[in-house]
């Protein structure tokens, strides 16, 4: 029966996902909800890196160690490297939408912007 310690990164990822969702649902300011979306996205980083970790393994950079020593998984790190930078620009796009909504309606509360009036 795997203990909590053996599955800690996965539980932390689930908790961060839940925190981000709670922040989105109960938010009163659009910029606050965009930042909670960033927290949601960072939960996937913990999950992926938790899968690729190996106890006693070192970083997969072979500039000073010989190829063949025990390393952690480099494929998962390659997936996340680009994701971290792209997340910042997507947050900028969402914030541009928030700025435009504030310009057109004068409010930043999602409850006031709820209904689409025809």
């Amino acid at each position: 029966m795997p203990s909590v310690f053996h599955l800690l990164p996965f539980f932390v990822a689930a908790w961060l996902f839940f925190c981000g969702l709670y922040g989105l649902v109960s938010s009163k300011h659009l910029v606050h909800s965009v930042i909670c979306l960033a927290i949601l996205q960072s939960s996937t980083y913990i999950l992926l890196l938790g899968i690729g970790y190996r106890v006693g393994g070192t970083a997969p950079i072979f500039a000073d160690i010989a190829p063949g020593t025990l390393t952690v998984d480099p494929v998962v790190q390659a997936l996340m490297l680009t994701d971290v930078v792209v997340e910042a620009v997507v947050v900028a796009l969402l914030l541009a939408m928030v700025v435009k909504a504030h310009e057109k309606s004068g409010t930043v509360s999602p409850d006031d912007l709820r209904t689409l009036r025809g």
Partner: protein
């Protein structure tokens, strides 16, 4: 060694909850910066220096900068509308 990693992960979980519960947006940006640097520490523990470098530059420099630029643009416009209202009145 693995206890340090477990401690860092618990700290990340607590810090994530702290970022979500901060209601004032300007303080939340500072909390987001702290959360980003803490995630970079976790990435260093997971033996991922490339990803940690990305996370430090983005999470402590670019992401708070983008959010502060958006907030300051909204405040600039609101302050200008207020000035225009005073001048017209």
């Amino acid at each position: 060694m693995i206890w340090i990693g477990a401690g860092l992960l618990v700290l990340v979980a607590v810090s994530g909850w702290g970022v979500v519960r901060t209601r004032d947006v300007t303080s939340q940006v500072i909390a987001l910066g702290f959360y980003g640097v803490l995630m970079a520490l976790v990435f260093f523990f997971f033996q991922a220096p490339d990803v940690a470098l990305s996370q430090i530059t983005v999470g402590a420099v670019a992401l708070p900068l983008m959010v502060m630029l958006a907030i300051s643009r909204m405040k600039f416009r609101a302050a200008s509308q207020r000035d225009k209202g005073e001048r017209d009145a």
